[in-house]
């Protein structure tokens, strides 16, 4: 019989890895829920991808940090940096993408995109032949190439919701993020979608996505642990002593009493 020890600390230790495997099971169940979410007309149009593993998650976190510094508007800089920290503290990331919004609109004239009773707002602004949108030009001037069909994009909300619901029902903390999705999409995760959302998931005693202090990218636990490693190494070199032959405590009053 096997003994599986589980403990969340230290990160990526065998005990933590065993826990991460449990979370991966939930990630897969979340994808099932996502794909069975109620959609406009029940039309399929979403894809999912799970990112798992230290290096794989690190790549996503780094792209989020690049976006924070180089691309997104200033007001998003700190949220993106903070969420990169959260990504590193996650056990897995579930990516959900909408394949239709940018390429195959609902064509129903709902009014959401441009407030008109037809789909002219979108079709007048994208490259298409007789209503067949040519999405092969993937160059972008904005983070997301718009306009997109809004009622198709609306569907993505249900997909996210059902995935999040499953995470919650399994007592796994989860947070859906624009930042994670954008970074993942730039790395060709859910590559058939223009609009991608990343759901960070983690099983931890403390929800890693709540109670965020200021400048979290500099003050998070990983930084603090590293600081302990950095400072303790120096500090121990001051009160050092030849412990084989000498105990400085012996010279104190308390030490003498202990000896008696």
């Amino acid at each position: 019989m096997a003994r599986i020890h589980i403990d969340e600390f230290p990160p990526y230790s065998p005990s933590d890895q065993a826990k991460k495997e449990n979370v991966l099971v939930v990630a897969k169940l979340m994808v099932n829920a996502a794909l069975t979410a109620p959609l406009t007309g029940g039309v399929p149009g979403h894809e999912a991808e799970i990112v798992y593993g230290q290096k794989e998650i690190e790549q996503v976190a780094r792209e989020m940090e690049r976006l924070a510094h180089k691309e997104v508007p200033k007001r998003l800089k700190k949220p993106f940096l903070y969420e990169a920290v959260m990504a590193r503290e996650s056990d897995a990331i579930v990516f959900l993408g909408n394949k239709r919004a940018h390429e195959t609109p609902m064509d129903v004239g709902c009014g959401l995109c441009g407030g008109e009773p037809d789909c002219s707002f979108v079709y007048n602004r994208v490259n298409h032949f007789n209503g067949l949108i040519d999405a092969t030009d993937r160059s972008r001037e904005t983070a997301i190439k718009g306009p997109v069909c809004v009622i198709r994009a609306h569907d993505l909300g249900y997909v996210i919701g059902s995935a999040m619901w499953i995470a919650g029902n399994h007592f796994v903390d989860a947070k859906s993020c624009y930042s994670v999705g954008l970074a993942g999409r730039n790395l060709d995760i859910c590559m058939n979608s223009e609009i991608v959302v990343g759901i960070l998931i983690a099983a931890a005693s403390k929800n890693p996505y709540a109670d965020i202090p200021p400048n979290y990218h500099l003050t998070n636990m990983a930084k603090q642990i590293d600081a302990v490693r950095k400072i303790t190494t120096i500090t121990r070199q001051i009160p050092n002593h030849p412990y084989h032959t000498f105990d400085p405590e012996k010279k104190t009053e308390a030490g003498k009493k202990k000896e008696e």
């Binding site: 979410a37 109620p38 406009t40 997104v72 508007p73 007001r75 998003l76 919004a101 129903v108 004239g109 709902c110 009014g111 959401l112 995109c113 441009g114 407030g115 008109e116 009773p117 037809d118 707002f121 979108v122 602004r125 972008r140 001037e141 904005t142 983070a143 997301i144 190439k145 718009g146 306009p147 997109v148 809004v150 009622i151 994009a153 609306h154 569907d155 993505l156 909300g157 249900y158 997909v159 996210i160 919701g161 059902s162 999040m164 619901w165 989860a174 947070k175 859906s176 993020c177 624009y178 954008l182 223009e194 609009i195 959302v197």
Partner: protein, 274 residues
């Protein structure tokens, strides 16, 4: 002590489930953290104007008719479940400058919306795409809550669109309707009232129109026969793309009729005005 009629008591309980669904919707995790949710529960005769307008639009569109017929029948049998309306103002942007709406910045988008806010067949626009995504998550949480109560539920654009035009949830740019019930199994899939609404031929015609290649004969000649009858090779039928003036006229008249009803219900048109 009391003995309750179980089904009647359960029907009444649907209202409590509806309230629970609104709680769930309020707790939905959103991306923008900026969705201001509006909700309303409609029961019994207060649904009549919505059903009436929906049925009017249904005179020329199977999509609306499908829902209108079901709601009419439930209402007649006194089995109409409580209907939750969810709404939100999705026009206010998330301020992410993401470009998904088609504008480079949220500022440019806002400038456009100031002079171009309008209405389509059932929603106001333009819309912040991320707000629309979040509104989906909110509605999904309500649906999931209904499912966990083992209550029938189906999120409906048709109900929401009519409710929006009739002035429910003022300030919302998108409204969706979520019937919580009726009691029973799969009643929004297997709709009793729909059985007699369309004839067999009409149903097969809808199938054909939706997927003509399925009934297409050899296409290599360039003008393939559409197999629309048992001896399809005799007096063959073909697919043709043409303008349909009669349908367009019917559609325009039908919409005018629906809008007139909406104006009467909302008091924009007096009884004596024609």
């Amino acid at each position: 002590m009391a003995i309750y009629n179980g089904l009647e008591a359960a029907h009444e309980h649907l209202l409590d489930v509806a309230k629970a669904c609104i709680i769930a919707a309020g707790k939905a995790p959103t991306l923008t953290h900026r969705v201001e949710l509006m909700a309303e529960i409609i029961t019994g005769e207060d649904m009549d104007p919505i059903i009436d307008v929906l049925a009017t639009l249904g005179e020329n569109s199977a999509f609306q008719l499908h829902d209108a017929v079901a709601l009419q029948s439930l209402r007649k049998q006194n089995k109409l479940p409580p209907i939750v309306l969810f709404g939100a103002d999705l026009l206010k942007p998330a301020l992410w400058d993401c470009g998904a709406c088609g504008f480079k910045t949220c500022g440019e988008y806002l400038k456009y919306t100031q002079t171009n806010k309008g209405v389509g067949i059932g929603c106001y626009g333009p819309t912040c795409v991320w707000k629309a995504v979040d509104f989906g998550t909110v509605c999904d949480y309500a649906c999931a809550c209904a499912a966990q109560h083992h209550a029938e539920a189906r999120i409906m654009f048709s109900i929401g669109a009519c409710a929006l035009l009739l002035g429910h949830l003022e300030g919302a740019t998108m409204v969706l309707g979520l019937p919580i019930g009726p009691l029973g199994k799969n009643l929004w899939f297997d709709r009793e009232a729909w059985k007699e609404t369309l004839s067999f031929d009409q149903k097969m015609m809808t199938q054909l129109a939706g997927g003509p290649t399925n009934q297409m004969a050899f296409s290599g000649g360039g003008n393939p026969i559409i197999k629309s009858k048992p001896n399809w090779w005799e007096d063959p039928t073909f697919l043709k793309v043409e303008q349909d003036e009669t349908f367009i006229e019917k559609d325009v008249n039908n919409k005018a009729k629906a809008y007139e009803k909406i104006m009467r219900y909302t008091g924009a048109l007096g009884e004596d005005e024609e």
